[in-house]
Symmetry: C2
């Protein structure tokens, strides 16, 4: 994380669908929690489906450059059924993650008291997935030959470098070492994806020798999904590749009360580029504008943002406010705005 | 499937760990259910960890050739911690799936009455995953450069052909069309893996025009894992790629009462090569020899084997026996052997 400063120059990308609505609540809570003497400047970037429809642009160079000068980025959600699948994901969201070298995709999962889990018996869940963010099957490498014909061949290339794997593995060991249980699980599929899988495992073992207090464990991704629903309490910190992390964190969100609570940070720990914070959920166009979107995931992402910028006390205030708020929810409908107001009041109090 | 014949020439690969034990029960039930006039010949193949330790061989050409002359293969489980990860998986299990062009990896999921699911509320679950078996990230393409050094690069290449995708998609439509709900869901990640994902989606849509009665649906793999735990009843038939299918079917097994009940068939519907039937679970060396292994997954795999060979009535008898047996289980421990005996008695009765 960076040092605490007396001003935050934040880029805001509300994006599509409920993105607009949840980001507004995130900013409301951010404003409420910040000390008086911290100056918050925000600049909104008009990126996403509407911009693409209007101009054909996803993320022009000038805006990428401008975004790079902020302290951090708060993003709502990207994507709309009116845009061909992949255009905004690759051209905007992943472009940002790759351009700003967000090699840590941090996704904590916690089953808060009183939240609905589909799991019987309400196991204790409190783990964090450290998902690699700049390599693996997400690089966009691959192609298609004789596209659209019966002789088509399409490939996707997962690229993994020792450089990229070691830095995320090391970050995960640091996080595990700082937690009470000090346990780190590597998830991959090294019995099938032997080239990438063995490299991940070798680096995991090598770096592990520097962290003798951390207990380690390896699971194939298929087996990991089983434990997510039968024994989620066994996990503390998980480190995994970009695609496996994508899959596992949606499952983690589902078992910890739903995607409405799942926060994430796309982090570049070196500070060379701004880190970007966003809820794990998508733009949910079906409920956009209805006030049904739960802004909690975005508000918890704001907590991750504050922690990254050095405002630990404020991050904790938000997390405690969410916890207290969830404990009091009784199933009565509360609008996006009402949840945002309630949390803003709590953190200010 | 092939035509019903008056003899079955079965290859048996017990493999490692509990493989031996569960296969013995599978054969017991198979023998009990077959009509008197059907001659069952079995030949056991000594393949797996012990063979590899003894001879360094995983699957010699002569044995691959010999296996090809059987009507079908029954496999227990492959793998042992004493063998480096990938050696037996790639050299034996996947070699068989690829050599015999098992392009349909069929994995039904059903929540039987009275079985334990980790899901609260016991949703109705009865779907089948049609997992592609010969392409995707499982081809073994890829490599590693400067292996073991800080400059290592490791790749995994997912190869997808219109030929391979169309045949599995068509098979899935046929299966969906034959079921009461007639619903087919494609699972992929076409917002990120755009080359392979778009090819899958285009072929899925094209073939779908020949099945106007089948309702279709598309889900990204991450979203699919959410619905597996929050709304599994929404699924009927799922078609997906080799790796996504691997992950989803372990999760499916977990939510339907555990990996002890999950059956699978590696099927070549053309009959050009023998199809291979195996439980989804692994060799579980920790419980090998203790009598704790549940042979039900293998016995249900025998049902799939019988259905494939044209013995529909016998397949149904096994499935009904399992259903009845599970309904009467009261949590008292029953050994591998006792479960096999109970099911053999039921199907013979
Ligand atoms: C929208 C999509 C590109 C993205 C991903 O796959 O990373 C999303 O699923 C996520 O997890 O943030
Ligand atoms: C053992 C392994 C190679 C195999 C796979 O990945 O296909 C297993 O997980 C399965 O699902 O049959």
């Amino acid at each position: 994380g960076s040092d605490m400063s007396t001003s935050i120059n934040l880029a805001v990308i509300p994006g599509d669908g409920i993105g607009q609505e949840v980001v507004a609540q995130g900013l409301k809570v951010l404003t409420a929690v910040l000390p008086q003497d911290v100056k918050l400047e925000t600049k909104e970037y008009d990126l996403g489906a509407q911009r693409w429809h209007r101009t054909g642009e996803t993320l022009p160079d000038a805006e990428l450059e401008a975004l790079g000068h902020h302290d951090a980025i708060l993003l709502g959600a990207i994507g709309d059924p009116s845009v061909p699948s992949g255009v905004l994901e690759r051209g905007l969201l992943l472009k940002l993650r790759f351009a700003f070298d967000h090699y840590i995709n941090l996704r904590p999962s916690k089953l808060f008291p009183n939240t609905a889990t589909p799991l019987a018996g309400r196991p204790e869940i409190d783990f964090v997935v450290v998902r690699e963010g700049t390599e693996g099957p997400y690089t966009g490498n691959g192609g298609s030959l004789r596209t659209g014909t019966p002789a088509e061949v399409a490939t996707e290339v997962s690229i993994n470098t020792a450089y990229g794997v070691e830095r995320v593995v090391r970050d995960a060991y640091e996080r595990a070492n700082a937690r009470p249980r000090k346990k780190l699980t590597l998830v991959h599929k090294n019995n099938v994806l032997v080239y990438a899988g063995h490299m991940w495992k070798n680096i995991f073992d090598k770096v592990g020798r520097e962290y003798p207090e951390v207990t380690t464990d390896y699971l194939h991704v298929d087996a990991a999904t089983i434990f997510f629903v039968t024994q989620p309490e066994r996990f503390d910190v998980i480190v995994t590749d970009n695609l496996f992390g994508d899959i596992l964190t949606d499952l983690a969100a589902a078992v910890t009360g739903g995607i409405g609570l799942a926060a994430s940070g796309n982090i570049n720990p070196t500070g060379a580029f701004p880190s970007m914070f966003e809820p794990v959920h998508g733009s949910a166009p079906d409920i956009a504008g209805t006030g049904k979107a739960d802004p909690t995931a975005t508000i918890l992402s704001v907590a991750l943002l504050l922690r990254h910028l050095g405002y630990e006390a404020q991050a904790v205030r938000i997390e405690e406010a969410v916890s207290a708020d969830l404990a009091e929810r009784d199933g009565t409908f509360r609008s996006t705005d009402a949840i945002g107001d309630a949390l803003a009041t709590r953190v200010a109090g």
